[in-house]
């Protein structure tokens, strides 16, 4: 009975995740796409998006829901990128400078967003979403009228014969920002996989020996790493990624080090006093306040961190392989939506999220994204449906996650009160 309940509650928590796994498998099969192609596309999108999705974790833990206002962080980054392009600084220095500009800008924006969200407690998710739309208007004003006229820019980036920034900016060639980080070094996917499996297995054993984790967890960790590595030792599987069939999959080393660094940052901050405050505020503001925690300040800090991280994530996105152009007026538009949907797909909810959920979510969400078009043309003979399906998918996931969350909390609240049903069951 108890096990059944546990299973039920597990399924409820991760229903969106399982749905996506099932759909992904279905789509990959029906689309008829080459596995090598799907895998390489997937890897590309993970490189691009993982950082932004990871930026959502801290506000979720601080009880502020999905911070859709990361869009505004992306705008801060785009201001940085625009200036860097205008000043003609290329390569890694350009990226670093853009990141440096994003830090104060993103902090300022985050501070303002946080202040505003403190005025609308309980509606942060929807509030940040609307705030993102609102900021879009301000951003357009800035890029169309203020840049180029009040703030001087190089004529390379402005519209010829008028003020305002060009619609599209090229990042390749002499601008030199394309793959500025991705391109530094590559490591074959298989090698990276073996190394990470090895490290994972080693770490779990060390943790077990230091008595930090149970024997069961240690065994699960070791067996999982061995299994994953083992699967790729099978020639048929390995051939899909090692280049003997199609392209060889390679990981951009620095990008992944940065992604792992962010994961480490997220988990490290949770072990500090500040992290404890995030968690306390996220779980119960009244109790946190009663024990002397400055609730509003803690929430503002969470949003500031998230906004800056999202900005840096947007820089990572823009420079990544396969992008190459900067859609000046549109690049930030879907940032919040896609990242929010991705983390929810990974099994996170409005009030809990982990690094692993963010990464798994990005993986699953984009695996559907890649295959939707081909799958729909295979199934319905019309690839346009796939286009619609993408939008349907992202909004649908968010709506579903919100509904499930509301339903669960409602039920928990009821269960917390006097349990009438149980009492009567005992009586009869």
């Amino acid at each position: 009975m108890r096990e059944q309940n546990q299973l039920k509650s597990h399924l409820e928590k991760y229903v969106v995740t399982y749905l996506f796994i099932a759909l992904s498998v279905l789509f990959i099969i029906t689309s008829g796409l080459d596995i090598n192609y799907v895998a390489s596309q997937l890897l590309l999108r993970l490189n691009r998006n993982a950082f932004i999705v990871l930026a959502l974790i801290i506000p979720i833990i601080a009880g502020m829901g999905i911070n859709f206002a990361i869009t505004i962080g992306a705008m801060a980054a785009q201001i940085g990128l625009l200036l860097v392009i205008s000043w003609g600084i290329s390569g890694v220095p350009g990226i670093l400078l853009a990141a440096a500009i994003t830090l104060p800008l993103g902090s300022l924006f985050g501070f303002l967003i946080g202040k505003l969200l403190n005025k609308m407690k309980g509606q942060e998710t929807i509030g940040s979403l609307i705030l993102g739309y609102f900021a879009n208007g301000a951003y357009q004003l800035l890029f169309l009228f203020i840049f180029g006229s009040i703030i001087p820019l190089n004529s390379n980036v402005t519209i010829v014969g008028a003020s305002g920034v060009q619609n599209t900016l090229n990042l390749t060639g002499s601008v030199g920002l394309y793959t500025a980080v991705d391109g530094i070094a590559h490591i074959p996917f298989l090698l990276a996989l073996y190394i990470s499996c090895g490290v994972l297995a080693l770490l779990t054993v060390v943790q077990y020996l230091r008595k930090k984790i149970s024997r069961k967890k240690m065994l699960v960790g070791v067996i999982a790493s061995v299994l994953i590595a083992g699967i790729f030792l099978i020639p048929a599987v390995a051939n899909t990624v090692n280049g003997s069939h199609g392209r060889e999959l390679k990981l951009p080393l620095v990008t992944w080090l940065l992604i792992l660094g962010l994961c480490l940052f997220n988990s490290t901050i949770m072990r500090t006093r500040l992290g404890q405050k995030f968690r306390a505020v996220g779980q119960n503001q009244t109790v946190a306040n009663a024990s002397g925690i400055n609730v509003d300040r803690t929430r503002v800090i969470a949003i500031m961190i998230s906004t800056v991280l999202a900005g840096w994530g947007q820089i990572m996105f823009m420079q990544s392989e396969g992008i190459g152009t900067f859609q000046t007026y549109a690049a930030h538009e879907q940032v919040g939506l896609y990242a929010g949907a991705a983390i929810l797909v990974g099994g996170a909810s409005i009030d809990r999220a982990t690094n692993l959920q963010a990464l798994i979510g990005t993986f699953l969400f984009h695996s559907l994204f890649i295959t939707a078009q081909s799958a729909s043309s295979a199934m319905f003979g019309n690839s346009v449906i796939g286009e619609y399906f993408r939008a349907f998918l992202s909004y649908g996931v968010i709506a579903l996650a919100l509904i499930i969350y509301a339903w669960r909390t409602n039920r928990q609240r009821k269960a917390g009160q006097l349990n009438l049903a149980d009492r009567h069951a005992v009586k009869s």
């Binding site: 006093r273 968690r279 306390a280 779980q283 109790v287 024990s291 002397g292 009492r423």
Partner: protein, 531 residues
């Protein structure tokens, strides 16, 4: 030399506007003693504690008069934080615990033990790592002190309610320099054996020299644990004494006692005795109303009587009308003239001839933006289909107006016209509109919940007179729930006292103060009239 008293509150007076909620109250507590603070709702216990903790509600309403001496020194306590720093702690009635945190994390909340590292030295203390080992060791010690054997790393969410109270206490005694602890109704949610354990823990804390203020309504616990007792009534100090010099009966009488006829309302006496016909019989009613939970109410209401339901706030007296009327989740059997009432279906209950004047006037009772006449007619239109005309069932505005005008005259509702929005009326007149609305249903049976809450004396008199007149003239059965015992004693035939979700006793209106006081503390006296 150590001071004789750890805390002295001298001549405390607190006004809210022109209304004095504390009048010249003094409280003296010695180190290591358990001091019980007793009184009915509204006696001023919580205001006195708010003063002690420097709660914002005190300072934003003009502060207080009198002085507070802590450890012999005159102190200004400006905020709960400053109270905490001085060594005054509170064990809350509602748990201040975070369910998703471990026991240790809760005990150490915002007092985490941390160790610095490279980054925190640059960016500040907030980034110091938690020293989980030391935290767990401290928590273990505090848990042992309160006699809890639970593991310090378990999550609070999985623990039984009774344990949470002890974790709260463990958190308070873990704070260094704790000198005075306030326990606010600590045993309310505990089982009998847990309550006994808690009293033992209190005694052992007191034995270490920490003074305890013990707020409770359970007299047996007072007699068991307290050394000294202070009783407040209507914001005034009744008396302070050693436990050995007094009996629970005396305490009960002192808590209730009004030798004068204060607060009594003169009403028409009943001329004919109430018959034996049973109008409603409630058996084993459980109501899930937040803050007013009922756990098995048994009660019989006779046709034509006015039955009072009294008791302290939060004990479940409000749950009875709300549960029967279907406003909150309820279970059990309620029979109305032999017919079983469907619980949870407000429409069906209303159609069967019951009506209710809610205690939540502005929330449940009235549509504040609507006119008086619409408010009066609304429920009758919806439920009974009254005030409708013609083939399409349009609203019969003429009939509504006539009825509203009749009611305005009858109940003396002071207004400019029946079209005036009720939101602009005074509290007393709003209450009369609520009564008029219930009457428009032509009920056989009326629940009236806190009918005089927040209205002035004149309006109070009128509302009560109206109820009595309705009862005498039409024979309508009335069940009146009220926190004001005097009011119940003036108009009711019998009074049921509810404590901890159950009917403790049913008393005559002329029963002694002691009997009422004991019943409110959950003790049945010999004077009960039973059914």
């Amino acid at each position: 030399m150590a001071n004789e008293f750890i805390l002295e509150m001298n001549h405390i007076t607190k006004l809210y506007g022109s209304n004095a909620v504390l009048k010249d109250v003094s409280l003296k507590i010695r180190p290591g003693e358990i001091h019980a603070l007793l009184g009915e709702n509204g006696a001023g216990k919580s205001t006195l504690m708010n003063v002690l903790f420097g709660m914002p509600v005190i300072h934003t309403t003009g502060g207080f008069e009198g002085e507070v001496l802590f450890d012999g020194e005159k102190v200004e306590i400006s905020s709960p934080m400053s109270a905490m720093e001085k060594g005054i702690g509170m064990v809350h009635q509602e748990f201040m615990l975070i369910p998703g945190f471990s026991v240790t994390d809760n005990i150490k909340l915002n007092r985490e033990i941390t160790r610095p590292w490279l980054v925190s030295k640059v960016l500040g203390k907030d980034l110091e790592f938690l020293d989980t080992k030391t935290m767990a060791r401290d928590a273990r010690k505090a848990l042992d002190d309160v006699g809890m054997s639970i593991e310090e790393y378990t999550l609070v969410s999985g623990l039984p309610v009774g344990h949470m109270q002890f974790i709260e206490i463990a958190r308070e005694i873990d704070k260094s320099g704790m000198k005075l602890l306030v326990f606010d109704e600590p045993t309310a949610v505990l089982t009998e054996s847990e309550a006994q354990q808690l009293l033992d823990v209190m005694k052992s804390i007191a034995a270490k020299g920490i003074a305890i203020i013990f707020i409770t309504h359970r007299l047996d616990e007072v007699m068991n644990a307290a050394d000294t007792i202070t009783i407040l009534r209507d914001g005034q100090l009744v008396s302070s004494f050693d436990k050995s010099s007094i009996t629970p009966e005396d305490i009960a009488a002192l808590m209730i006692g009004r030798s004068d006829e204060d607060g009594m309302v003169r009403v028409e006496k009943r001329t004919e005795p109430v018959g034996d016909t049973v109008a409603m019989s409630i058996s084993d009613l459980w109501v899930n109303m937040p803050g007013e939970v009922d756990k098995g109410i048994n009660l019989t209401v006779r046709e034509g009587e006015i039955l009072g339901i009294g008791g302290l706030a939060g004990q479940g007296k409000l749950g009875i009308p709300n549960g029967v009327m279907g406003l909150y989740e309820a279970a059990g059997d309620v029979e109305f003239y032999g017919q079983k009432l469907p619980l949870g279906d407000a429409g069906a209950v209303l159609r069967s001839g019951l009506a209710m004047v809610s205690e939540d006037r502005r929330g449940v009772g009235l549509l504040l933006d609507q006119s008086i006449e619409n408010n009066i007619a609304f429920t009758a239109m919806q439920v009974n289909g009254d005030f409708m005309k013609g083939f399409l069932h349009q609203k019969d505005t003429g009939a509504i107006r006539r009825y509203a005008e009749e009611m305005i005259k009858e109940l003396d509702i002071r207004c400019t016209s029946p079209a005036q929005p009720v939101g602009t009326l005074s509290g007393g007149n709003q209450q009369k509109v609520c009564v008029a609305r219930a009457l428009a249903m032509k009920p056989r049976f009326l629940f009236v919940s806190e009918p005089t809450r927040g209205i002035d004396i004149g309006a109070k008199q009128l509302v009560l007179e109206t109820l009595v007149r309705l009862n005498r003239e039409t024979g309508m059965t009335i069940v009146m729930v009220s926190s004001e015992l005097q009011e119940l004693r003036s108009v009711c035939d019998r009074i049921a006292i509810v404590a901890e979700g159950k009917v403790v006793d049913i008393l005559k209106t002329d029963a002694s103060d002691t009997a009422f006081g004991l019943a409110m503390s959950g003790v049945k006296s010999k004077e009960g009239v039973g059914e």
